[in-house]
């Protein structure tokens, strides 16, 4: 369950923490090439905000890819894949990797994790860019690297089942509603789709995201927060018409208010941070990434020459120091 999961323990952040992590990997990437950079090449390096927009661009394209995927995939595969993608780029830098192939590898891995059986041949048939065999090789090569960067924490808790739970609760307890609750489903699904292009996956528990989706659907139908408050009162067990009970349980009232505040916060986060990616923006990202990735091999070459000119002391730049592996197979 989510309360004991690695998702809660390792991959849930505050907004400040997220921003700090993204800034840190960006700075580290710049420092790597600082000494061998020409002044005019500096403008090619992007800011963390621009990197984030590049990710959104890829996420937007990925959601279109998922909708067109055959056989039809269920929503939790999408959520799992984008969770992997967002986690991966808290460690990797978009300029340093093929961000599109990383997304494809995330989808392939998510299909395995979510028990959506598909072969790599059928998977690459859905990709309309590049040669199928080459795509398959690159995805299969990326998959173990992706798992390693995710620390092999592969279980992702999606908000779709909590959403069904909340909806069942509402249908059962709110008998006096004079409209069909199923009508909010389409708007809630749109909310989830928009949320996939924001950071709420990394900030909030699935049950709260699901409740925000329900409230979003209610708002889209022209209802107010009062229905949500009524629902939470029934869930918690507060008697509405009793003043004595109201005063006797202030912590329950506090929980109710905090939950409503949190739900509104999630809705605001999705509304503010979901900015649709335009075609022009995507083309800009594509050309910018192409220029950066053309420049990086030259910079690597310069670093190597500099290292050799300095006497070849220490590790060659870019070479990974292999960590010793603690193997249970070793005989003591």
């Amino acid at each position: 369950m989510y309360a004991t999961s690695t998702q809660k323990r390792e991959w849930t952040y505050t907004p400040e923490k997220l921003a700090a992590m993204r800034l840190e990997i960006n700075i580290k990437f710049r420092q790597k090439y600082e000494s061998v950079m020409q002044p005019d090449e500096l403008e090619l390096f992007v800011t963390p905000e621009e990197e984030l927009r590049m990710q959104r661009s890829i996420e937007d394209a990925a959601l279109k890819f998922a909708d067109k995927f055959r056989p039809h995939i269920w929503p939790s595969v999408k959520w799992t894949a984008l969770a992997f993608f967002k986690r991966a780029f808290l460690v990797w830098v978009p300029s340093d990797t093929s961000i599109r192939m990383v997304m494809m590898a995330c989808f392939y891995l998510a299909m395995k994790i979510d028990e959506f059986y598909i072969t790599i041949e059928d998977f690459v048939k859905n990709m309309n860019v590049g040669e199928p065999r080459q795509n398959a090789e690159r995805i299969l090569k990326l998959e173990p690297e992706l798992m390693k960067i995710l620390d092999y924490n592969l279980t992702v808790h999606c908000p779709y089942r909590p959403y069904e739970g909340h909806l069942m609760d509402m249908k059962t307890r709110m008998l006096l509603l004079n409209f069909d609750l199923e009508s909010i489903r389409r708007d809630s699904m749109r909310f989830f789709q928009n949320a996939l292009q924001t950071d709420v996956l990394l900030l909030y528990p699935p049950s709260q995201i699901a409740l925000a989706a329900i409230n979003f659907g209610l708002h889209a139908q022209g209802k107010s927060d009062e229905i949500l408050r009524e629902f939470l009162r029934k869930l918690i067990g507060i008697e509405e018409d009793s003043w004595a009970h109201r005063d006797a349980r202030p912590e329950d009232l506090e929980k109710l208010e905090k939950t409503v505040t949190r739900v509104n916060q999630i809705m605001r986060e999705v509304d503010r941070n979901f900015v649709a990616v335009t075609e022009q923006e995507r083309e800009n990202h594509k050309s910018q990434l192409a220029r950066i990735q053309a420049l990086i091999p030259a910079l690597d070459e310069r670093r190597k020459e500099q290292w050799l000119a300095g006497g070849g002391v220490g590790l060659m730049p870019g070479e990974l120091a292999e960590q010793p592996v603690d193997s249970d197979d070793e005989i003591n």
Binding site: R161, G165, D169, Q208
Partner: protein, 310 residues
């Protein structure tokens, strides 16, 4: 389970228990035999028969009756050793064999012991010449057994010869190859001959050292194994009381911390009408145990987990 009736030790309390048995058929452990028959003769602890110490033998079978029977049968075979051609027809030979079985039965179960012993003596006197002549003869069964044993021995010898020959051939082949390789290198290479010979000598020394090390390792392992067995045997306790360690397990129902609204239980889910809002499973799913309650409980549970996490 082997157990000495006199001192009550058994094979679980005494790992080194050795049971001995005499002609009366009552088992006794080796320690008791040494104690009671220290003067080379004494009385059986069960039937009080006078026994001699040198007649004790190690008990082979769990059931002492079987041991007694095999002993008596082997003893009587020296007297009742007539063959089929000693009789005029098959019926007489059959009668003789059946009579032998009756004699064995009487002695094993000690029925009509005196009459049976008298009968044995009379038979021995009556057929003395035939008994003496048959002492060195083998009957068909014994011949067959000896043939089988001889064949087995021959086969084993043949296999050993084959393996030795194979090993020699391999050794010769590898030696030839190595020698040829060295000679080729000496002829073709620019390196000095001393260097090549030194290298080969070093290789050979290393190989010998490895073999020696392997042998020592194997020897050490065998010695350790023997020591372990001996130590285990020595440390075996005579104490028959088995101590019960630890506390009895008491089951605690698992408590899941929800940090959210309280979860309705199964009867409440049914009573409140939650199941009306979930898709009804097909008969196959229900047969597999996937009732609507299962999906409903899971969805409600996940909707509450950490809802009040701020």
């Amino acid at each position: 389970m082997k157990e000495c009736k006199k001192c009550k030790s058994n094979e679980y309390t005494n790992k080194q228990l050795v049971m001995m048995i005499n002609e009366c058929g009552h088992p006794l452990c080796k320690n008791c035999v040494d104690n009671i028959f220290a003067l080379n003769s004494g009385n059986c602890h069960v039937c009080n028969r006078v026994l001699r110490k040198n007649n004790f033998r190690e008990q082979i079978y769990e059931d002492p009756l079987i041991d007694k029977e095999t002993f008596l049968r082997r003893k009587l075979r020296k007297i009742y050793n007539l063959k089929q051609d000693d009789f005029e027809n098959l019926r007489e030979f059959g009668d003789y064999q059946e009579r032998f079985e009756t004699v064995v039965y009487n002695l094993v179960f000690e029925t009509n012991v005196n009459e049976t012993n008298a009968e044995i003596q009379a038979f021995e006197e009556k057929h003395k010449e035939q008994i003496d002549r048959n002492k060195r003869r083998l009957d068909d069964d014994q011949k067959w057994i000896e043939d089988q044993l001889r064949e087995e021995r021959a086969m084993k010898a043949r296999m050993t010869d084959h393996m030795e020959m194979d090993a020699k051939e391999q050794e010769a082949a590898s030696a030839v190859t190595d020698t040829r390789k060295i000679m080729d290198e000496l002829r073709d290479s620019n390196v000095a001959a001393e260097v090549i010979l030194d290298r080969e000598r070093k290789k050979q020394i290393e190989k010998e050292l490895e073999e020696k090390e392997e042998q020592e390792k194997r020897k050490r392992r065998n010695k350790e194994m023997l020591q372990t067995r001996k130590r285990a045997a020595e440390n075996m306790s005579f104490n028959t009381v088995i101590r019960v360690a630890g506390r009895a397990y008491v089951h605690q129902p698992l408590e899941l911390v929800i940090n959210g609204p309280p979860m309705p239980n199964v009867s409440e889910i049914e009573a409140l009408g939650y199941l009306a809002h979930i898709r009804q499973p097909t008969a196959e799913y229900i047969a597999g145990g996937y009732t609507p309650m299962l999906g409903c409980s899971r969805a409600l549970f996940e909707a509450r987990i950490d809802l009040f996490s701020f």
